[in-house]
């Protein structure tokens, strides 16, 4: 996003959804933006300007999208400067139309009491393969385990559920699925469940 920090691209809805679906119309009425959250977003944009994209600013929730090469740097900035100290959840979302798999980190803070309500949503996308060979194809992302320790099991889960290999993760083993699982990673959209 080429806009500067003054007029933030504020969309109530954003590119969290498949690009092929039509993009949403502008919000019906101008919403008062929460100040604290906007400042937070501004700080990030100030540091990384065009490399990050602020997807939305809602009360207590800020979402930023970054490219897969920058994610580690952004995460380190969030931890060291903005005091986000742990990841609450890591979720994958599959977008077959975009040929991408999105990995969403929800970051929170225990140490900074002003941030205790806040969740910073850090999203990045990995390339999606039609015929995945988990671990041996282009679906790879840098692991954030060195930055946020708490993502360890979450990233293992994403690896088996979506086939996203996390480079630098020490332990990309299977976690929840049976040992002999040989099918597609089950949470991808092209994996159909019985009778559906």
């Amino acid at each position: 996003m080429s806009s500067d920090s003054d007029n933030e691209p504020i969309e109530t809805t954003s590119d969290v959804t498949p690009a092929s679906t039509k993009s949403s119309p502008t919000p019906e009425k101008e919403i008062e933006l929460p100040k604290f959250e906007k400042d937070l977003a501004d700080k990030i944009v100030e540091k990384f300007n065009t490399r990050v994209k602020v997807a939305f600013v809602k009360p207590d929730r800020v979402r930023i999208n970054v490219g897969r090469d920058d994610i580690k740097e952004v995460a380190e900035f969030l931890r060291d400067v903005l005091n986000f100290d742990h990841a609450e959840s890591v979720s994958g979302v599959d977008y077959p139309q975009d040929k991408e798999i999105e990995v969403v980190y929800h970051l929170g803070s225990y140490t900074d009491s002003s941030l205790s309500r806040q969740i910073l949503v850090l999203a990045t996308r990995a390339q999606r393969e039609e015929n995945p060979i988990p671990g041996n194809d282009a679906t790879k992302l840098p692991s954030l385990r060195e930055v946020f320790y708490s993502v360890e099991f979450h990233e293992r889960e994403i690896f088996e559920m979506f086939g996203v290999y996390f480079q630098g993760h020490p332990d990309n083993r299977r976690l929840l699925l049976p040992e002999d699982w040989a099918d597609l990673p089950p949470l991808r959209k092209d994996f159909a469940i019985k009778g559906r």
Partner: protein
């Protein structure tokens, strides 16, 4: 036997002194999971939790059902805490649909979720008792929790699987005369749980077994992203009911319990202290609740989100913060539902806590994590 270890079993290469031991899934001290430990004599040198024995693919199933029919199966991961596990999902769907919930429904929800937290904690306590070989501590909580189950049954119609919270409020209003019965039972319940101190928490044998085992420092608790009672036992004051109050928690009067020690004893004490706070919350909520009014906003059939959106809502459950990430694409079914559950987040601490412990302390440390395997596996 081949030298190849099947995936999931590959711990480090070990020398002869060290023995690998499988604890579970059939083991009175493991629950529904397997913990692979390597022991040197009596001391644990490495531990590899192996969850997934109850992985039922809830998140995948949620993509094929609409927002309302998702409710029954999303509460199954923790059936004895079913109000709390539905809470973030329901809050999220309400935000997606843009519904404002009636005041009375909010109070009913708070009461139901606090009752449910007690029911959950009592079951957890019962199992903790039996893990430590303390049979009385199985019988007392298991018997006392039936009181609250009776209350919830009156309120919702089901013993454990309530499915009481729906987007727009709660399924039905309180039965007549509920307030009095509830007050009486909760008062009695509080009196009962105070007695547990005498047989359990002040018991020298229990203290000898749990104090100073599995110590989690404050820094580690934050770094590992633990939550709920584990976090608060390590000295971090973080309770979502205070920090990010949802529904009417802002108006209610209670406090959070924090202990500094970070050992199994502190971790087992926090939920018990929380139950007393829950009793306070319930009493206060019963007082402040509007005496009549609607409890549910009527929804259109097959409600759908306004368009392309995502929400992340979280509540404080019996096991800690419970988040629900919903991505909607404007269809009646969610595009993706992800439950970020407290058990799964606390599991990561297990290898750290068990390292250097005696094998005999394993159940005490493991169950003090306030862990419910079914929830962690989803």
């Amino acid at each position: 036997m081949t030298n190849e270890l099947p995936p999931g079993l590959a711990l480090q290469k070990v020398d002869e002194r060290i023995m690998t031991l499988n604890v579970g899934p059939q083991h009175p001290g493991s629950g529904h999971m397997r913990i692979i430990v390597q022991i040197d004599g009596d001391f644990i040198v490495a531990c590899d939790p192996d969850p997934g024995y109850v992985h039922r693919g809830e998140e995948k199933m949620a993509e094929y059902r609409n927002y309302i029919t998702n409710i029954p199966h999303l509460e199954r991961p923790v059936i004895h805490d079913s109000c709390n596990i539905l809470y973030p999902y329901v809050l999220g769907v309400e935000e997606l649909l843009g519904i404002e919930v009636p005041e009375r429904a909010k109070y009913i929800r708070v009461i139901a979720s606090e009752l449910n937290r007690c029911v959950y904690t009592m079951y957890w306590l019962a199992i903790y008792g039996i893990f430590l070989g303390h049979s009385t501590m199985f019988m007392w909580p298991a018997g006392d929790r039936e009181l609250l189950i009776d209350l919830l049954e009156k309120m919702t119609g089901a013993r454990v699987t309530h499915a009481h919270f729906v987007p727009g409020g709660v399924r039905n209003d309180l039965p007549p005369n509920f307030e009095d019965v509830c007050l009486r039972q909760v008062n009695y319940f509080e009196k009962r749980i105070k007695e547990y101190a005498a047989i359990f928490y002040d018991n020298p044998i229990l203290i000898a077994r749990t104090a100073n085992t599995g110590i989690l420092s404050r820094e580690d608790a934050i770094r590992l992203g633990t939550t709920g009672s584990v976090l608060r036992a390590s000295g971090v004051d973080y309770d979502l009911r205070k920090k990010e109050p949802y529904d009417v928690y802002e108006e209610l009067d209670f406090q959070t319990n924090v202990l500094k020690e970070g050992d199994s004893y502190a971790r087992s004490k926090i939920p018990w202290l929380d139950m007393m706070e829950s009793c306070r919350i319930i009493r206060h909520a019963l007082q402040k609740m509007p005496k009549s009014g609607s409890v549910r906003v009527k929804l259109k059939p097959n409600p759908k989100g306004k368009g392309l959106d995502s929400v992340y809502k979280r509540v404080e459950s019996g096991r800690g913060s419970l988040g629900c990430y919903i991505v909607s694409d404007g269809k009646p079914e969610p595009y993706r539902v992800k439950l970020s559950v407290g058990s799964f987040r606390n599991l990561i601490a297990l290898p750290y806590l068990l390292k250097g412990e005696k094998l005999g302390n394993m159940p005490a440390v493991y169950w003090s994590l306030n862990y419910w395997p079914v929830e962690a596996d989803r």
